[in-house]
Symmetry: C3
Subunit: 139 residues, 3 copies
């Protein structure tokens, strides 16, 4: 059972697609299994994070902006890859630090997320992008 989620981003930040993922699992009708999510890009990530206070997502985004600032920041003067804009190499760094793939068990036909867990596409580029996440269910 496979599908591809197409997610339109609107600049840096986290987009919730937990609902789409749950719906795919529901329709698959698999009682016991594992869902694999895989993002087909090297400048965005997929993360599981708190789904309650939106400030958590904003703080996360800010933490990573500080961890890997745009390359026009003096602290990033050592960066060589600059041809795709000041946000590109930091995006690759964040994509290395954050997950490219996630595996979530399915119990009794439902995604075994904890109460406070949501599934997010984390965009690292400045411009809006069209992102693809492959989903596969193993029975």
């Amino acid at each position: 059972m496979q599908t591809i989620f197409n997610i339109q981003t609107r600049g840096p930040g986290l987009s919730d697609f937990t609902g789409e993922v749950r719906e795919f699992v529901r329709r698959a009708g698999v009682a016991t299994g594992v869902l694999t999510l895989f993002v087909q890009h090297t400048s965005c990530s997929i993360v599981i994070q708190e789904n309650a206070d939106p400030d958590v997502r904003r703080d996360l985004q800010e933490f990573f902006r500080r961890l890997a600032p745009h390359t026009d920041d003096p602290s990033m003067s050592w960066v060589r890859h600059r041809t795709e804009g000041p946000d590109d190499m930091p995006a690759h760094i964040k994509a290395a630090v954050l997950p490219t793939s996630l595996s979530i068990p399915i119990i009794d036909g439902k995604l075994a997320l904890g109460t406070w867990q949501g599934v997010y596409l984390f965009e690292h580029r400045d411009e809006p992008q069209s992102r693809r996440v492959v989903a596969h269910i193993s029975g």
Copy 2:
């Protein structure tokens, strides 16, 4: 084949549960497969790390304490999510950087860990917590 490991933590740091995981794989009796581990929380992580010198685990904990200090540290003045205590937002940051899920192959009925690899629950909150890790074996 699924189970849930309940792990009681005693403040920040790494708790070894390799033995429980190996025992689950042994009882499952699957010769060739993959074990998926998934932690149902957004303020702790599961990591594979060196099982020899305990200083490695302490240094790891200290590295992450410095990477994302408590929010009463002046360097964290930009953080907005403060309602759950000075250790909460740093816990979410560490949970984004470190794994939420792990996939470990099973070869000849045994977990294919390297000689020096152990499986750990990495607690990021200050207070003791009761943590749930879902385990699933695909044959």
Copy 3:
């Protein structure tokens, strides 16, 4: 379907083994499934990164060298684990931050990598090493 990739590294940096992985998937002849990759070490990682500009890999390596410098750097004076050389504890830190396991879907018999994605062994130790990556395909 399982195999083990033996990868000889030549000091710190990223080694491309996408070709070997694709060849293993091709020979397996599985139309729909998931490939799991798992590295049996705690001082190197497996990452998916851009396969175009080699500067991206060099910048990544440099980012992590700065994030966790050798322990003879004054900023790392707090590190206790020093018996295996100044590059060992930073290698464990990088191995915690970067992936130990990856799950990549197989669609129509092919690895579902994006156009710009390659699979790399990221060596964190200074000396050349012989590294083992276990590969498993679930149908």
